[in-house]
Amino acid sequence: APKAEAPAAEAPAAEAPAAEAPAKVVIGYGAPELSGAQGQIMQGLIDHAEAKGWEVTTTNADFDSEAQANQIDDFIAMGVNAIVTVPVDSQAICASVTKAHEAGIPFYTIDRGTIGCAVDMTIQSDNYMAGKQAAEALVAFLTEKYGEPKGVVLELQGDLGQNVAQLRGGGFNDFLKDYPNIEVISKPTEWAADKFSSATLDVLGSRDDVDGIYMHSDSVGTTVVLAALEQLGKKFQRGEAGHVFLCGVDGSPDALQAIRDGWSDQASSQPIPDFGIIADWIEKKLAGEDPTVGEVVQEGALWSPATIVETESGFVCNLATTSVTPENADSDALWGNN
């Protein structure tokens, strides 16, 4: 595949059309919710866009696809230059995508692709892969502990109505399918901190054979779960006997800190703020240019190398996720560390 240069270099070219359109470029951003990583994603986009002197109007759908549909209607009514969303639901969003395109407004999604319709570009990190990475680390731990991959692990699921949760669960469980001796206890939490806590308390309070805990979101989970473990008198550091293996997805500041402190073991860190680089491709689009399939490289960026592929749901730019372990927990490249 031909190797495109980092789109940042294209910036000057983009000036021209921006100049033709005298009005300031306005991006409509639709967040599915604002807690945890989502806030970071939004901030990331805002930073990148404002760096270009654009304006971003933001909305929050609060997990409600219909509300998101309404908000996108509002964007269309406002006549924004481009729409960026993190879809509450990958399929439900399609109605809105069609509308936007009918109105001639380019449509981008972050973090989750669409299913059943094509957007101008999706930029995402592979949640399925994130789950896999956690599972790998877990298996390694168990093999070391028992000499063979066996044991019990508690999976604290997100909201099963969302495909993020399903992907994170899927990657994890699919990987563990090859290890029949590892028992997974799954508890739904709807991302709610108190449910993380009570599930941990209940399960580990009623049985002593739980070796590890996998959190669909370590930004919500880490502190809560550690607190619960302390309640149960089961909070031990790495290496101590009875240490409960903690892994999860997000790579939040707390998670990284916990890894450094030896309480936690693994986090699949997403390039969350880097999603904002989608602004570069929006700029191109406004200049009438389409993305080129292939690899995108930027020196020193954790998300690099990213790959752009063309699917039936439009162009998809996959950013690399990083499995954080005690070894690389200090890396400044991780979003959780700055």
Binding site: S35, Q38, Q40, Q157, V224, L226, A227, P253, G336
Partner: protein
């Protein structure tokens, strides 16, 4: 009179029916779920019941006056976020900015309790003095409080509350969590108070018939306002407890607690029309919910089934509970009078 005594027994059973259901359910779980009766697990059940319990006390007090309080869960969210905001260092943790005041927990605790009390008082005043619709006022207040929490926290998770602050939520005495002890004491105290104090009489009288209460020399407005004030205080208190346990807060914390507390109270025999019910009953209701949740966590129920099963068990419990109406005589002597607009609910 002998006959009457027998009837009193029936009455006694009917009035405490929820406890029987609770006992039955407990035995069922104890028999069918391994490790259910482990000390650690029993403690867990109580632990879940503690925060919800504190909130249920507040909710019950308000319900007794014939009003709703939907704002409490908002206060849980704001009090925790506000406390964090006061205590955390400025923004080393991602976006979640502390104010940098790095305030001492022993200062923060009274502050948030005061916050809760004041908000409760405001709600009460709006409803009684300005005659605003209680349901919407408290709903709107919930939105506003959550919103404020979201603004303070940028919608971010705030973690790492200091040890001193967490005492209530996480400390133990002789292996027994403080929060449980406090909650149980609180229930005993309030229950005794409401059954033996003038205030208790006043609450129920006002709830059952505000006009008659007024004509009996009570002051419905004062009572209702006081009820909401207490509710606000307890909400903040619950927030303190919860934050202590989670060491984490987020503006969405406590979502859905309103329904749970109302459900618990009503299952425990508190009437939504006001005037009847006790905090003790509400406690039973809370225990029921917490029992169910715990059992669901211990049983290997498919995640997709949890919600349905939960609702179903509650329904069954309520169904049995409701059948006592068959043993209650019909009333032929009271025109079911509709309450006037004292609480604003036209």
């Amino acid at each position: 009179m002998n006959k009457a005594q027998k009837k009193d027994w029936v009455k006694l059973i009917l009035d405490n029916f929820i406890w029987i259901i609770l006992a039955v359910l407990f035995t069922y779980f104890a028999v069918n779920i391994p490790n259910f009766t482990l000390k650690s697990n029993l403690i867990n059940i109580l632990l879940h019941a503690s925060v919800l319990g504190i909130l249920a006390i507040g909710q019950t007090i308000v319900l007794l006056t014939g009003n709703f309080d939907l704002s409490a869960e908002g206060m849980v969210s704001l009090s925790t976020i506000f406390a964090m905001w006061l205590m955390l260092e400025p923004g080393i943790r991602g976006e979640a900015q502390g104010s940098g005041l790095m305030m001492n927990p022993f200062l923060v605790i009274p502050i948030i309790l005061l916050l809760g009390t004041i908000v409760g008082f405001l709600v009460g005043t709006m409803i009684t003095q300005l005659k605003m619709n209680g349901f919407i006022v408290t709903l709107a207040m919930q939105l506003s409080l959550r919103g404020a929490a979201m603004i303070l926290s940028n919608g971010q998770i705030m973690t790492g509350s200091p040890k001193a602050f967490n005492w209530l939520g996480s400390a133990k005495v002789a292996g027994f969590p403080v929060s449980i002890i406090v909650t149980i004491l609180m229930f005993l105290f309030v229950n005794y108070l409401l059954n033996n104090s003038k205030f208790g009489r006043e609450l129920r009288a006002v709830g059952a018939n505000p006009d008659a209460a007024a004509a009996s020399g009570f002051n419905p407005k004062r009572t209702i306002t006081l009820a909401y004030t207490i509710g606000g205080f307890l909400a903040a208190f619950a927030g303190w407890m919860l934050l202590g346990r989670l060491e984490t807060s987020i503006s969405t914390l406590g979502e859905g607690y309103t329904l749970e507390t109302v459900a618990a109270s009503v299952i425990g025999g508190v009437s939504l029309k006001g005037g009847v019910g006790s905090v003790g009953g509400a406690f039973a209701g809370v225990m029921l919910l917490s029992l169910i949740d715990n059992a669901l966590n211990l049983m290997s129920v498919d995640s997709f089934w949890v919600e349905a099963v939960r609702g179903f068990i509650i329904l069954i419990a309520l169904l049995i509970e409701a059948q006592k109406f068959r043993y209650k005589p019909k009333v032929i002597h009271e025109p079911a009078i509709e309450k006037p607009a004292v609480s604003g609910t036209k």
